[in-house]
Symmetry: C2
Subunit: 213 residues, 2 copies
C-alpha cells in the first residue's frame, strides 16, 4: 500500500480530521485531480467524481490510459480543492488564499453490473441532480465503453484555511489594508444546444439547480 | 527526463498546441495542482502559480516537503484546470462539462537573489495586480523562509472542451433537452480583517480587481 504523507509537517494547524468536512468538500466540488505514476513520472489529470458513502467514484472511457492504469491497481492520489477567497495581508509574505483541499490515497477497484449502473447514475445526478430520471438509460454499448472506478475513503488528509492574515504587530500598526476578497461560483443562464428542437423547455433538473443559486 | 504522455490517445480532437491558449489559461486560473512521486506513490497538492514568460513560478515554505523534493530535481507534472460549464446532453453518456486543462511536465530550478525577489513580486501581483506597490518589501527573514521554483513551459499538453453534446440522431429526435449551463466565477464584497485599524480604506488593487468583474 502507498504510504502517504498523511500528517502535514507544514501548517499542521490547518489539518483537519473532520470526516463531515471532507464529505462536504467532496460533495461541493465536482472536479478532482487524479495523480498517478505513468511511465517514469507523475501525471495529474482532472476528472469529475462523485462520493458514494465511504468511497469516491470516477468514470471514464475504457480506452483511457490513466483509467486503465488505475483499474490495474496503480496507487492513486485524488485531490479535490476549492479556492474560496484571496487573503489580502499587510505584507506580500502573509498574503494568500482561503482554500480547502482533500487528498485521498489508495487503489481503485472496477465496478461492474448493477454497481456500475448505479455508479453512473450517481455520477450523473451528482453533477445535475434529477437528470437521470429525465433521460433514457445507458445502452449496452455505452455501458461497455465506460469504466467506473471506486476508491475507498480510508486514507485521506484535509486542509482548510479560512481566516484572515496573521500579520506582524508592526504591520498591523502600519498603513496597509488587510482583509479577504471572496471568490464565488454562480451559474449563468442556460444555453440551448444549436440542434435543440423547438418546443423543448429547460428541464426541471436545470431549473432546480438554478433556483438553489 | 520524464517521458510524458503528450499526445492524448483519448479525444485527440480536444488536444491543442496553441501556446496563446495555454498562456491564457495559466494567466486566468491562479491555482495549480502539483503532482510528484513522494515515497512510493503519487502525491497531488494545490498551490498558487504565476507564469513568467516561458516558465511557471511556484513558491512556498523552505520547510515544505514537496517544495524540497522539487528543488532536489524530482520530475513534476503541474496541471492547471478550469471547469466552465455543465454540458447537458440528451443522454447520461454524452453529458459532461466544458473545461480547459493544461499539464506541464519537467523539473524545477530554484530562483535566488534578484530572480527570487522578482518572482515573489510577480506571484503577488498575479493574484492581486498592483499589490506589490502597496505593501512593504519582504524582509531578509521572509526571503530566507520562502522558496521560489521555476518550471520551463517546454513539455506541455492542453485540452479544451467548449462545445455542446454530440448526441445520437435518435436522441436528438427525442423529447430530452440539451444545452449548456455556464459556471461563472465572481468576486464577492471585500471583508475587512477583524484587526483592521479604523480609517484604512480598501486599496486601489482590490478596487481595480472588483471593477474588472
Amino acid at each position: 500500500m502507498n504510504a502517504p504523507p498523511l500528517r502535514p509537517t507544514r501548517f499542521p494547524e490547518l489539518a483537519s480530521t473532520d470526516r463531515a468536512a471532507l464529505d462536504a468538500l467532496l460533495d461541493r466540488v465536482p472536479m478532482a485531480h487524479i495523480g498517478l505514476v505513468m511511465g517514469d513520472g507523475p501525471f495529474v489529470v482532472p476528472t469529475l467524481h462523485a462520493r458514494d458513502g465511504d468511497q469516491l467514484l470516477l468514470h471514464g472511457s475504457t480506452g483511457s490510459r490513466w483509467m486503465r492504469a488505475l483499474a490495474d491497481g496503480a496507487p492513486v492520489c485524488v485531490t479535490v480543492s476549492e479556492l474560496s477567497a484571496l487573503v489580502v495581508a499587510r505584507s506580500a509574505f502573509e498574503s494568500g488564499v482561503r482554500y480547502a483541499s482533500a487528498a485521498i490515497f489508495g487503489r481503485a477497484s472496477v465496478l461492474s453490473g448493477a454497481a456500475q449502473l448505479a455508479g453512473l447514475e450517481l455520477l450523473t445526478d451528482r453533477l445535475l441532480p434529477g437528470r437521470t430520471a429525465e433521460v433514457r438509460r445507458p445502452s449496452a454499448r455505452e455501458l461497455a465503453a465506460t469504466m467506473v472506478l471506486a476508491i475507498p475513503l480510508e486514507h485521506w488528509s484535509l486542509k482548510v484555511a479560512d481566516g484572515f492574515s496573521d500579520d506582524d504587530p508592526t504591520d498591523v500598526a502600519g498603513p496597509a489594508w488587510a482583509g479577504a476578497l471572496p471568490l464565488l461560483t454562480v451559474w449563468g443562464d442556460p444555453q440551448p444546444a444549436p440542434d435543440l428542437r423547438p418546443g423543448i423547455e429547460v428541464p426541471g433538473s436545470v431549473r432546480a439547480l438554478l433556483s438553489t443559486d
